[in-house]
Amino acid sequence: MSIKVVNVSKRFGDFVALDDVSVEVPEGSLTALLGPSGSGKSTLLRVIAGLEQPAGGCVEISGANATRLPAQKRGVGFVFQHYAAFKHMTVRDNVAFGLKIRKRPKDEIRRRVNELLELVHLSGFADRYPAQLSGGQRQRMALARALAAEPNVLLLDEPFGALDASVRKELRIWLRRLHDDVHVTTIFVTHDQEEAMDVAEQIVVMNDGRIEQIGEPHELYDHPANEFVMSFVGPVNRLGDEFVRPHDFELMLEPNGTTQEVMINRIVHLGFEVRVEFTLPSGEDAWAQVTRETAEQLELEPGQIVYGRPGRSRVFN
């Protein structure tokens, strides 16, 4: 089901959490709300879920105005950063909760819960309590619980934020696959641009309660609308008014008229990628990202003077 947010505003005391925000999420898509903390992304998600009431504007879910509808009637599945597991219930009862509330027949509940536990790889854990699960398992349980009642929309609030880096990577691949299987319209909140690019089809970049840009991952990276998006979705050097991605900075041994002298300070080997940190004649520090091959060809060393120029740069007004 599609979601449409129109001119939504929300304040907490003096703090403006959402400032006239409008966004559309097409049916069946996987959208990320990306932004730094305090940018309003979680508030927007909670407004869509009905957990927060906007001060102005409206929320439409599959064409119907849902602004005044309480959370319980919106048919959304919500996954919280800290799982919000029902601690006094077993994994099975947690997942069955939404179905029991809807008074579905017992054998239907059992069948559906088994199916979902299979889907989230927790079949062997049905009779455990949340306290006996790892963080990753708890979050998978929370996902199964949210999916149980077949929601129109799945909303995830920093779902992997509380997990280890390795579990996080595994789960996001898994979420991507799950979305391919289940095809429910999904919105997830993250502050990690890599995660957003890895998982989402559409990214909404937020800052200070406003939307900075909406687009596909490569669009945001290659055609950022402004300085904020440019620096938030990837690494960037600022040289005067110009913004240059480190991999767009070319280094060479001979000057060619368009190059500047650069003095190499430090070389960091990160496997395939090599980071070259240097100082420009203007006194500005910057870095370039080159392949191992290039670094070896140029025989780069700290203290050396080489020549460089931005191959591609952007200026915003």
Partner: protein, 265 residues
Amino acid sequence: MTARRLAPRVIALSYLGLLLAAPVGLVFFRTFEHGFGPAWDAVTTPEAQHAFWMTILMVVVAVPVNTVFGIVCALVLARHQFRGKALMNAAVDLPFAVSPVVIGLALILVYGQGGWFGGWLTAHGIQVIFSTPGMILATIFVSLPFVVREVVPVLREIGTEQEQAASTLGASSWQTFWRVTLPAIRWGVGYGVVLATARALGEFGAVSVVSGKIQGRTETMTLFVEQRFHQFDLTGAYAASVVLALLAVATLLTMNLLGSRTEGR
């Protein structure tokens, strides 16, 4: 074992021993000094039995009332923001701060003859003071804070995320309360109930003032103990005390038993 580690233990144990265990132990000893028979006879007189059932009545009415309203008050204090919340918070502690005797007198001022509601109540044939309703009111008053005070911190600790999750899963606030909130706070509620029960069983001052101490009519177990004591029936006083102590112990054991059963699922 070094002296440094032993010292606090000795201090703690002798403190508890001298101030708690010895007096209570002595009551038990005195009760059964002349065998089981006299003690049994003392607590099975019609008067003693009446006092026993009065005490049970106090507990059976006051504790459920304070449990239900205690949970409501705790939810309001932990989950709502409003003007006058600090005042409400302080009001809940009033029974801790105010002497039970004062509470008793206050009740007489409100419900007694010439009190605020006294005239109206008398006109409608309801007697509150020097009668059971007044004693129940006094017991409710003194045992009010326990459930609230035990439940508020538990509610704060569990937060609201589980409740929000329940609402996104389609639960109404009523369903959320029964299926999510109440099970999550059950230990706090249980402990509050135990403390409120103990307080209601042992209440003396406020009940003493409003009851009028009419033998066989408005006498609870604690009042009965005092009355026996003043009439130099020490066996009766001790035996009734033992009954009170046993009731309290039974309350604690019931709670522990319920606790271990639900925990061991």
